[in-house]
């Protein structure tokens, strides 16, 4: 590829492209949020990917899954193949590992990722994915979106982007994972159920997540200091740092950085 392709992002620094190209990016969940992430990473120039999603494209995905087409629905194309197609359209030489399964079914490839995006439903899934990321010392970026409707009031759209960096407060510390939510999900037999999702909100969250990843790798702002917890208010179209950061412990109380590597079981 020519140097000209990335000339517009040269402000990221003289070694930025090198840092981008050598990083292995893991994306778990390739639907509404994950498809945006994959597309943007491919545009920016990432060359190494580990992708997980067990599902195939269905009609109800087309309102938000970037890159998916009606033909994909007709052919019940696996989402990992759509993601691969996006990447190959921009990075023919990229090394892409695709796993058409849940990451829990084949967790080892995840461990070689330098950075992990969690674009999945369900608080239990997030808890487990973050735990795995912490155990193998992988920075984890979580994105999530919810739409709540109460009575006759307008729906409330809210989401978050969180950078969970080993050693710094985790999703538990930050109150993103709460026992009550885990309990409700557990008692509903682990079914997160169909959740409202829209392309523009997913795009905001995914773009923010990718921006954090780029800053982490290139340090172009020289300002990124984990933890990062950004709350998205969809009704107003705003994103701001969560006030929960004020109350978070300085270091993580749930995942000590000595409790890493293969457990002794």
């Amino acid at each position: 590829m020519s140097d000209e392709r990335y000339s517009r992002q040269s402000f990221l620094g003289p070694h930025a492209q090198e840092s981008i190209e050598c990083a292995v990016m893991g994306i778990v969940g390739l639907g509404g949020g994950g498809s945006h992430v994959v597309q943007q990473l491919a545009h920016v120039g990432f060359q190494q990917y580990v992708l997980y999603d067990p599902d195939c494209v269905e009609d109800h995905n087309l309102n938000r899954m970037v890159g998916a087409t009606e033909a994909d629905v007709k052919e019940a194309r696996p989402k990992v193949e759509v993601a691969l197609r996006i990447i190959r359209g921009l990075q023919q030489q990229a090394l892409v590992e695709t796993y058409r399964k849940r990451w829990q079914d084949e967790p080892l490839p995840l461990r070689r990722c330098d950075l992990l995006f969690g674009c999945i439903d369900g608080v239990g899934n997030r808890r487990d994915l973050e735990a795995a990321a912490r155990r193998y010392l992988i920075p984890y970026i979580d994105i999530g979106l919810d739409v709540h409707q109460a009575g006759t009031e307008p729906p409330v759209m809210a989401g978050q982007v969180v950078l969970s960096m080993p050693g710094t407060p985790c999703l538990h510390c930050l109150g993103v994972l709460q026992e009550k939510a885990l309990e409700q999900e557990g008692r509903h037999y682990g079914n997160a159920g169909p959740r409202p999702q829209v392309v523009w909100a997913n795009g905001v969250l995914a773009s923010t997540a990718v921006g954090i990843a780029i800053d982490l790798l290139t340090d172009w702002t020289r300002q990124l200091r984990p933890p990062v917890y950004l709350q998205y208010f969809g009704n107003e179209g705003t994103m701001q740092s969560s006030p929960r950061l004020t109350f978070a412990p300085k270091t993580c109380v749930h995942y000590p950085t000595t409790d890493i590597g293969d457990p002794e079981i």
Binding site: L182, G186, Y189, V253, Y255, P263, E264, I265
Partner: protein
């Protein structure tokens, strides 16, 4: 639930090889190759006890395999803990017991 002094030692005596592990602020107790009740398949499997509140249950016993017993159970959990995959069935209100008894209570639930 506070684990009383000596409970872990008792667990280790009852189930050789038992280990205490932590993840995400939760203490788990690992028991390798626990024997399952008669009529179950597999006959032995690793288990992981969580003696504290998790996912709405006061305690949970995770199994390394979906154990098929005389009574079908609702295997409603599929978790990744301590680097491994675990299965768990819905069995409520096992609480207030010593660690050994928690394990036995969950395992007995595989029977009618």
């Amino acid at each position: 639930m506070a684990v009383l002094a000596g409970e872990f030692a008792e667990l280790q005596r009852q189930f050789p090889g038992a280990k205490q592990c932590q993840e995400g602020g939760t203490t788990f107790y690992f028991i390798p190759g626990l024997g399952m009740p008669p009529g179950c398949t597999p006959e032995h499997t690793d288990v992981l006890l969580c003696p504290t509140q998790r996912d709405g249950y006061p305690s949970r016993l995770f199994f390394a395999a979906c154990v098929q017993g005389p009574v079908p159970r609702n295997w409603n959990g599929d978790s990744h803990i301590l680097g491994r995959r675990w299965y768990v069935f819905s069995w409520s209100d096992v609480q207030g017991l010593r660690l050994v008894d928690l394990v036995l209570a969950h395992v007995r639930a595989l029977l009618p």
